[in-house]
Amino acid sequence: MTNFSDPFEALFAIQRALDARKASDWMGSSTTGMGSFPPINIFQQGDDYVAIVELPGVDKKDLGIDVKENTIRISGKKTITYDEGASVHRRERVWGVFDRTLSVPIQIDPDAVKAEYRDGVLALFIPRAESDKPRTIKIN
């Protein structure tokens, strides 16, 4: 291995994971809205999980997150306003309502889920429930 740090390791890890996505059964068939808006990446951080969701242009007050058992619901609306009388040259952005439910295949602690929204990116910190964590058994 090389000695200098590689800032792209995280990126490559995502790309490898994307390539392996078809083979991954982490979510199984449990996500009810696979392929729908908003796109979600899920990472493992020690025992816990982090879901990172891209929602550019969505106002924080138009975003709702509900957690029940191991299910997380992300819903809201994205609105775009144009000046009146403007002529449109290029229109690539889309807007509308979204409602997506995510069921993670682990036991989570619903009260401890934290959400952070910044620069159009939602980060959900999903702690694994204490009862779900693996225990090391000491051999006498």
Binding site: L11, S24, I42, Q45
Partner: protein, 132 residues
């Protein structure tokens, strides 16, 4: 609620690079809207995850370049287990007309969306001609 259409996911388009970069990073084209009023041309670009300190807007030889960089350090120590989208920097360039006041471009970044307002030069604004 039912009357509004459900949002589709937009796949990121990768930039076709002319000069090759020395570092192996991916760059995407921000999703962009452009509209024009009598006063100005407005360019709106979606760059989720880009901090306002990490944006460069440049005008050179009538070429407007918008560049936004992602902070990869936030992903340190995270192991992907399930992924649906790729991350990378954003860059997009537009040929702009000299009829725009290139020195008066204003930019604002909110919720990962950048709004650039390019005011029109006085001579390019429409004039009402009074008929005597």
């Amino acid at each position: 609620m039912a009357s509004q259409p459900e949002l589709p996911v937009q796949q990121k388009r990768e930039v076709e690079k002319k000069p090759e970069s020395t570092i192996p990073s991916r760059t995407f084209l921000p999703i962009t809207d452009i509209f024009e009023t009598d006063q100005a041309l407005t360019v709106i670009l979606e760059m989720p995850g880009v901090d306002k300190e990490k944006v460069d807007v440049n005008v050179e030889n009538d070429i407007l370049t918008i560049e936004g960089r992602i902070d990869y350090s936030k992903y340190e120590g995270l192991q992907p287990v399930y992924t649906e989208y790729n991350i990378g920097h954003y860059v997009r360039t537009f040929q702009i007309s000299s009829k725009l006041e290139q020195g008066k471009i204003s930019a604002e970044l909110k919720d990962g969306v950048m709004t650039l307002v390019l005011p029109k030069a006085e001579k390019a604004k429409p004039r009402k001609i009074k008929v005597n």
